[in-house]
């Protein structure tokens, strides 16, 4: 039982990362109908920025994180203008291909600037963790779960309780009508890109101490986050969160109880299973974009 609880905790920790990256996917799908295959590179860039500010410049860890988040938000706007904007009237596929191109470009840019060697980076806190009974709560996992929870709650409050959130939702549901009401549609889409990029970057910074920071660190995370998005229900916010957490738990349990080498396979087996049995996911959209 204690082993089960331990795995559950670790699974939720890594699942929270998938959930954050998956949320980034979902927000862009909803606001701009963009499937962003550069989402994983947002995480990779965030982690590298932290390395640059903390490991190289020696700036305080938390200040480094804050700086990196701000830069990532700005980067999201640049990404929107270069990758999405010129193709915005060309339908979904050209933009998808353009985001794939951007992700390849970003990986190679970092490779040129930083080189291929991977880097280790410190965790958020010095303490290793807390022992509760037989379960050890590692600090970094605990931090990830707490930060992800705070972000999800904040995002819920913004989306459901503020006029800005309502305008973002209106933009995602019917852009032309939103513009007829005087909602600055372009600004709303840029906000979404900035937020997705900042959140993706933060996810990368949070997961960095658990892995090595490397050019391809985020590829597998982004793929699993995308799988989480399908499993949870394409374009669904609660689906992204639950799908991410479920994948984290399933692969951690699967690795422990069934097979470690097949750890990565469990997530994609789940994806295939859902595509066969319940393709609309856990929370199949209650409405299509234009009802």
């Amino acid at each position: 039982m204690s082993n089960f609880l331990q795995l559950l905790f670790n699974g939720l920790g890594i699942g929270a990362i998938y959930a954050l990256v998956s949320l980034g996917f979902v927000l862009l799908i909803r606001a701009a109908s963009v499937v962003n295959f550069g989402q994983g590179e947002f995480s990779m860039l965030g982690a590298y920025l932290l390395v640059v500010f903390f490991n190289i410049f020696g700036i305080n860890y938390y200040v480094s994180m804050a700086l990196s988040i701000v830069i990532m938000a700005g980067f999201g706007v640049i990404f929107a203008y270069t990758t999405y904007w010129p193709l915005r009237f060309r339908g979904g596929l050209p933009v998808i291909i353009s985001t794939i191109g951007a992700s390849i470009f970003l990986e190679n840019l970092v490779l040129v600037l930083y080189g291929p060697s991977s880097v280790q980076i410190d965790g958020l806190f010095d303490a290793d963790g807390i022992q509760i009974g037989d379960v050890f709560l590692a600090t970094q996992y605990l931090s990830i779960i707490v930060i992800a929870t705070i972000l999800v709650v904040l995002q819920y409050l913004v989306f459901e309780k503020t006029l800005l959130g309502k305008k973002l939702q209106a933009t995602s549901q019917d852009k032309e009508m939103a513009s007829l009401l005087g909602i600055p549609v372009v600004f709303m889409i840029l906000i979404t890109f900035a937020y997705s990029s900042a959140m993706g970057g933060l996810a990368g910074m949070l997961v960095a101490p658990l892995l090595f920071v490397s050019v391809n660190m985020a590829g597998i995370i982004a793929l699993k986050a995308f799988a989480a998005n399908i499993i949870g229900g394409y374009g669904s916010i609660p689906g992204a969160i639950l799908g991410g957490l479920a994948l984290g738990v399933i692969e951690t349990m699967g690795a422990s109880y069934i097979s470690v080498p097949y750890k990565d396979a469990f997530a994609f087996a789940m994806l295939l299973l859902f595509l066969m049995v319940r393709p609309q996911g856990l929370f199949g959209e209650k409405i299509s974009e234009k009802a």
Binding site: L163, K167, Q173, M177, L180, L181, G182, V185, I287
Partner: protein, 241 residues
């Protein structure tokens, strides 16, 4: 005073000219209706006014100032509110949320003041009161129309563009909608109304324009239009020989 002047308006979708040099004027305080059969260019005219059509020539003036080439967001800020064909109520937002977003063109009004205005709208449209927390996609056609009009009014427009408000509604609801339109004018808002239901439209309008395939067929007072043989012919589907 002329609130809206449309001069020589030409619009094209792809290779087809949808409007071919249209002239329309709307005086402040009037209800003016655009009539015509399907494809006459009525909705396109409204879409040109609110900046939704790209390939346009001619001029559109609001209070003497040209608004050609402005974005929809800018035009609604100048005081033209467009309730489009199909109502376009946001399906995933509640009635209250849909209505409050109608004020997105106004700057510096507090959330509390806006919520108060929404309450005012729910008094004008009492049927919506019990539905204020219902999501858009759950509403009936008549309810959607009421939400769309209330949302349009939240912009506090000088000019309200209404596109086919009676489309698909039961006769009793149509009468209710037209009572609301008459009320809106009484509150000082000018209305440009596109309708296929000529009878209802002419019963509330001060003047009407009849379009046929992108051109003006005839214009004038409701009684004159109603008795015009050309109009009767147009509504019966084609000219009498």
């Amino acid at each position: 005073m002329k609130l809206l002047e449309i001069k020589g308006l030409t619009a094209r979708y792809g290779a087809a000219d949808v409007l071919k040099g249209l002239d329309i004027e709307v005086e402040e305080g009037e209800i003016v209706t655009l009539l015509g059969s399907n494809g006459a260019g009525k909705s396109t005219t409204l879409r040109c006014i609110s900046g939704l059509v790209d390939h346009v020539a001619g001029d559109i003036l609001l209070g003497g100032q040209s608004i050609m080439g402005l974005k929809p967001e800018a035009i609604v800020r100048l005081g033209i509110s467009h309730v489009p064909e199909g109502r376009r109520v946001f399906p995933g937002l509640t009635v209250r949320e849909n209505i409050i977003l109608g004020a997105s063109n106004r700057k510096g009004v507090s959330r509390r003041a806006l919520e108060g205005e929404v309450d005012g709208m729910l008094e004008i449209f009492p049927d919506l009161r019990r539905l204020e927390n219902a999501l858009g996609w759950t509403l009936s056609g008549g309810q959607l129309q009421m939400v769309a009009v209330a949302r349009g009014l939240m912009a506090q427009p000088k000019l309200l563009l209404l596109d086919e408000p009676s489309l698909g509604l039961a006769p009793l609801i149509v009468q209710q909608v037209f009572r609301v339109i008459a009320d809106i004018r009484r509150r000082g808002t000018t209305v440009l109304l596109v309708e296929q239901n000529a009878h209802m439209a002419l019963s509330v309008a001060d003047r009407g324009y009849v379009l046929e395939t992108g051109k003006l067929l005839v214009s004038g007072k409701p009684e004159a239009l109603w008795n015009d043989p050309q109009v009767r012919a147009a509504y019966l589907g084609g000219h009498a020989a």
